[in-house]
Subunit: 367 residues, 2 copies
């Protein structure tokens, strides 16, 4: 008996996954991490009002969420000053990126990204048979000119560009991004991932313009809003493109409690402001700790600090392992030369006390 | 400027959606429904222990859910007596069906279902370019022999079969289903949707057998467990097939609170038993109300009762509209001859008091 027949495309996909969760490592280690500062989550948590809203919504969890996510999209439309027809909400930016790639990328279609940028995007492109063309980072930043030039050269249908960037924490100013958007070749779309936009300095995010067919903007409640576990992201783009998501998305995929949580989070901008300040202070302390040990932390516009450890990828990987043994969950860039760095997410004071206590001995153990 | 270039497949997809949510109708009506008994949700809600577990998990919503859903899958494995490698959890059966179709169905591949069965499955098949072959219901039941014969005739890669059935509420016994599985052609997979398995009479569900490559079983927390709004379903199948989901699924798509809710729901089997009894009593009362008005309710193995209104689809659609005007949200089968019926989900006593009060005048208004 042959069993089910996978498509040729799926048969050729690797069985590897974009990210291993910290829980998998905890099970392997036989104990939980003492500091969970590796997945760029917000240790400061969601707003107390969000927690209340979720508890209040729990008894209503027997009802499917509104498949139009009307109230959430209407609130986002008011917040951003765009029509709600320009907004689609979905199961995190990961889910929306999957739908977006599916909309545009058939087998053999060209797609452009940076070598070392978001692995989950690459996973989706491979999953739909796209051909990925990668351009190198310029220093520790994504290179807008190179991305656009590669798209023109390859006739790409889609460019991925994160601003601020993950895993390096760098960012370009709004003027640079605006010029990049204007240079996107006709027939190509720029997927502008602004997951870390809430923590970026003023002047990083260009104004939203849903009339512009060259760009789609991706935002999330998973980072500064502290709701990674609820899976709510959204995209802002031209209404024609946004409407196309309805042809492929899981219409009831955004649950009722998730919608209630996102709505409450958006309404509590004071908490977001406080969180962004706590993130900035935490970034500052991580930077100080790293400098005190002779490491070279990079400037960050995000909720993490990427630290140049001054060696090879092997050395950084060894450092991650040593930190793991000491109960600290952190990650690192996957690709050279960025993999000379480790990436530490902002933590609570307690998290950073632990980091400060064990980082010296973790470094010493490498010698 | 041409704007983004959708794939040829997506360009040809209709903009229609499988289901319009009750919230959309409420916005159009300018008022909420008084009884929400149209989407086969469980009005009896989730267990109080589940509500507690969700409230307790809310402050942890800053963490991504475990991408392996290890604890949930381990609990399901113990519950069902199968290896956890035979289980994939995902964003409801809808989400899992989308992944399953993507794994197996390339453009032009044949797929078999019943004419009038689950529209969301058809939506996924169209979305990946499959060619859907439909066999008629036999009376008001899906026809296992006809489904298998059509699969053999068309060389189908996938058969969809719901047992118990939605929208008719009918079911086949385990022996019939077991014979159907044995008859699935080599190279074809039976997607056996058992969303309503929890409310079916004993002897409906064949034993789970993850060694059998011909079938994948789909279960959900959205129906009797009362968690439609959390989007948690799972599939049980051969570990090779289950592993293939990891090549395409949204690994972090199942949120942390959703996993906590499902785990607590599974642990409270006493509540499930009570709910199933309440569903049975509600089914009984809907049946009595319908008979008292000269209608012909069908036997039901589900959490809804499908009622033959003895006329055309137009008459049933008019009745749905009249009930809607009176604050009652119900739905009906989409396809003739099943569309002579309306489908009423089990409700609370209050819901059914309202139904009993307005159904006579809604019927009278049709004359």
């Amino acid at each position: 008996m042959t069993g089910p027949r996978l498509t040729p495309l799926v048969s050729g996909l690797p069985a590897t996954v974009p990210f291993v969760g910290p829980e998998t490592q905890e099970r392997a280690n036989g104990r939980p991490f003492l500091a969970r500062i590796g997945a760029n989550e917000s240790v400061f948590g969601p707003s107390p009002r969000v927690i209340e809203a979720m508890a209040a919504a729990a008894p209503e969890a027997w009802m499917y969420g509104d498949p139009e996510a009307y109230d959430l999209r209407a609130a986002l439309a008011r917040f951003h000053g765009v029509p709600m027809e320009a907004i689609v909400a979905g199961e995190g930016i990961d889910g929306l990126l999957g739908y977006l790639v599916r909309l545009l990328v058939a087998e053999g279609d060209a797609v452009v990204t940076s070598d070392g940028a978001y692995p989950t995007f690459n996973y989706h492109v491979a999953g739909f048979g796209g051909v990925l063309h990668k351009v190198p980072y310029s220093g520790d930043s994504e290179d807008p000119d190179a991305l656009v030039a590669k798209a023109a050269e390859t006739g790409a249908k889609l460019i991925y560009f994160a601003n601020p960037d993950n895993p390096m924490g760098s960012c370009h100013d709004a003027g640079t991004v605006t010029r990049m958007i204007a240079a996107v070749p006709d027939g190509c779309l720029l997927a502008l991932d602004e997951a870390y936009g809430d923590t970026a300095p003023g002047g990083t995010l260009p104004p939203l313009d849903p009339e512009d067919r060259r760009v789609i903007r991706l935002r999330t409640f998973s980072k500064a809003y502290g709701l990674a576990g609820m899976r709510v992201g959204y995209a802002v783009g031209h209404p024609d493109l946004i409407a196309a998501f309805n042809r492929v998305r899981n219409h009831f995929g955004l649950g009722r409690v998730a919608q209630a949580a996102a709505l409450a989070a958006l309404a509590d901008q004071g908490y977001l402001t406080d969180t962004v300040a706590r993130i900035a202070a935490s970034r500052e302390r991580i930077t100080t700790i790293a400098k005190g040990l002779g490491l070279a932390p990079l400037p960050s516009a995000t909720n993490f600090v990427t630290i140049d450890c001054g060696g090879t990828g092997d050395r950084a990987r060894a450092l991650i392992a040593e930190l793991g043994k000491r109960g600290i969950f952190v990650r690192m860039p996957f690709t050279p030369p960025q993999d000379r760095c480790i990436r530490i997410s902002c933590g609570t004071e307690t998290d950073l006390d632990r980091l400060e206590a064990v980082l010296p001995e973790a470094l010493a153990s490498l010698r």
